[in-house]
Amino acid sequence: MADLVTARKADTLPPARSAAGGRAARGRAARKLVPEARRNLSAYGFLIGAVLCFALFSWYPMVREIIMSFQKTQLGVTSWAGLVNYRRIFNDPTFWTAWRNTLEFTLLALLLGFAVPFFVAILLNELRHAKGYLRCLVYLPVMLPPASALLLFSYFYDPTYGLFNDILHTLHLPTSQWVLSSGTRWPTAAMISVVIAATWMNMGGATLIYLAALQNIPGELYEAAELDGAGIVKKIRHITIPQTKLVLSMLLMLQIIATMQMFVEAFILDGGQGVNNNTESVVYLIYQYAFAMSSASNFNSAAALGVVLLVVLATFSGGYVWLTRTRDR
């Protein structure tokens, strides 16, 4: 497989960049380094801009956060504090609750937010009429600002006047407290409510990406499968999923990283904590440490929790990349 990819790449490259020609080109480039650099000056210029932006707005804050997590500030004086901030967050009774809730949201969001867009994309791909109209409909929620979309859902979920309870009431079914449900056993009604809103908000983007991947699958594969007597389930299992594996795995990783940073959904729907802290997430806990407790607010502890989250996500991402590379080989 890897050889095939290399061969294809070689086919598409100009002769000077092919394997043998490449070595010669490198040799020439070494002798003509200065003219080459001059030629690529504009490219380097663009690169410097991007690197500076990343350095200033991504890498520097990360380094600063790590430093802050080992410091404390009192009466305007900042000093080193060792592991005090880490001890504080690990001793906080809500620390583990927040992680448990975050994992619950991630798993539920994967079940709903990963699978639903995939099957919606398959449906859209199979449609013969009104494709554009329906794609627009599916993507429309993505265009709503998240706060507006969530406020809309907070009205839907209102236990007294909400649309969902109205529907249940009309159907003579028991109504629900939705995001204000008090249960703490997995999966909680409150968290499912949050995930439904989050999925509705975000599925448009994933659906379009899946749709693009589906449309790249050669139609001959399906025709051949039909001739072999394959049904819809077998076609999905043996053609659609393998053919979209790269896109699926990329979106899976992005989705896990995004859902582990859940914040705005619960913050707007139920104030962030939920009943019995059943929707309190790690990022919300960071927000609480940093901003919500006034005199007891502590940016250093918030930074420590941010570092813990960073480590968890980096470990996951690294492991994921390693696993997928191994599999490709």
């Binding site: 009466l75 305007g76 004086v77 809500t94 236990p159 006034s294 005199s295 502590n298």
Partner: protein, 467 residues
Amino acid sequence: MHRRLHGRAGYRKVAGVTVTAALGLAAVAACSSSSTTSGSSPSVTGHVTVGGFCAPPSSSPVPYREWNEDVAAFEKANPNITIQSIYSAQCDVPATLTAQLAAGTEPDVYETYFGDLHQALDAGQAADITQYVNSKTVPVWNDIVPSAKTPVTAGKTLYGIPIFNYTQGLVINRKLFTQAGLNPDTPPTTWAQVETDAAAITKLGNGIYGYGDYSSGNNGGWHFTSELDANGGAMTNAAGTTATFDTPQGMQVLQALHNLRFTDKAMSATQGLAWGTLQKQMAAGKLGMFIAAPDDIYNVIVPIDGGNVNDYGMGPLPSVSGTPAGTLSGGDAYLFAKRDTPAQIEAGIKWLNFEDLTLGSGQFNFARTKADGQPVGFYEPQLFQGPTGTAYTSLLNKYTTINESYYTTFINANEQPDGQPADDQALYKSLDPVMLSVLTNPNADIPQLLKSATSAVNQILANSNGG
């Protein structure tokens, strides 16, 4: 205590609200000349710009206009000073202030709640203004009640100027009380009476509920604190090192709220409410009672949410005994950024004296308030004592427009102001989930909720005390 939508200055403006142009200018001119002749800030030389004062937004047209008139009059009387206002519905948002203090980007003069000095000092962002405040720069200074000065003082150092204070009681909708066959002149004083009256009001139907309370945005814990104080409890010990609300008094408060919600069905199923929501319900005639300070009526329910001032009255905070043992008390103060120049500090104090601490001027321009058709005569703020206190009461009585008998039981209760607990916002935040659970979970385990919250609060207090 994040109870105020608008910065106090903003709504003080509502209180100090509006007049005809001539009357306003006359009053303003009188006041500004008094502040000028009071000998304040002769040392402000050269031009100085000072910013950060909380002004009402243009969406509140009357207070907005009044504020701008005051600024214009002040700047005319003090041509070397420029006042830069922050027009905002809520100037002191705890999360925003915390971020500003950490970054050192707070305004030159910034509005805070009484409990905020500690974090301003920790962030190194509060200027020492001790040498600038005296009976010359702020003529009423010696008559400001000590309980309002304490929150802006650390040791012997003064860091701020208090401009408002409050206690809490039970705001009632007299119209709904009458419709439900209850006597609005005798608001309930015990939790049992609150339950009975709330149930009667709820029976009116049409989306009307007898009682409402908060459970998010730190407001749930804030109200629980006040209700606990009234019931004879306290959030922490005197030293502020240990939580003390897991007591029979705390249980009784939560049990009463749980009964109101699930036994009496006198509270809406829609919970998770924060400050601002119950005022709207009250103004819309959909709510019978809720806990608040008097300024919720004259600053929010009437001028912002469109309620009729004659529909409201107040009683004392409910308790099991019927006699409130105390109440949470708080207020607002302006602190000065550490980076401020002496000229900015002097100019800021001069403006605050003019706008917030001079009888007949700014927030206390009751002639203007009355002329503009806004309610005058509320029991609070009670910022002054001594001769200024007497003069204040006399001025207030002269222009009173409200029916004071609607507030008799609240005034007569003379609740003991207990201040606020250490690390107030953090404690309120920890109690929000307790209130939310009590108001949403029919099977809420109140003892367990109190136990868990106690553990969380002890953790916060231990961290604050260097643990």
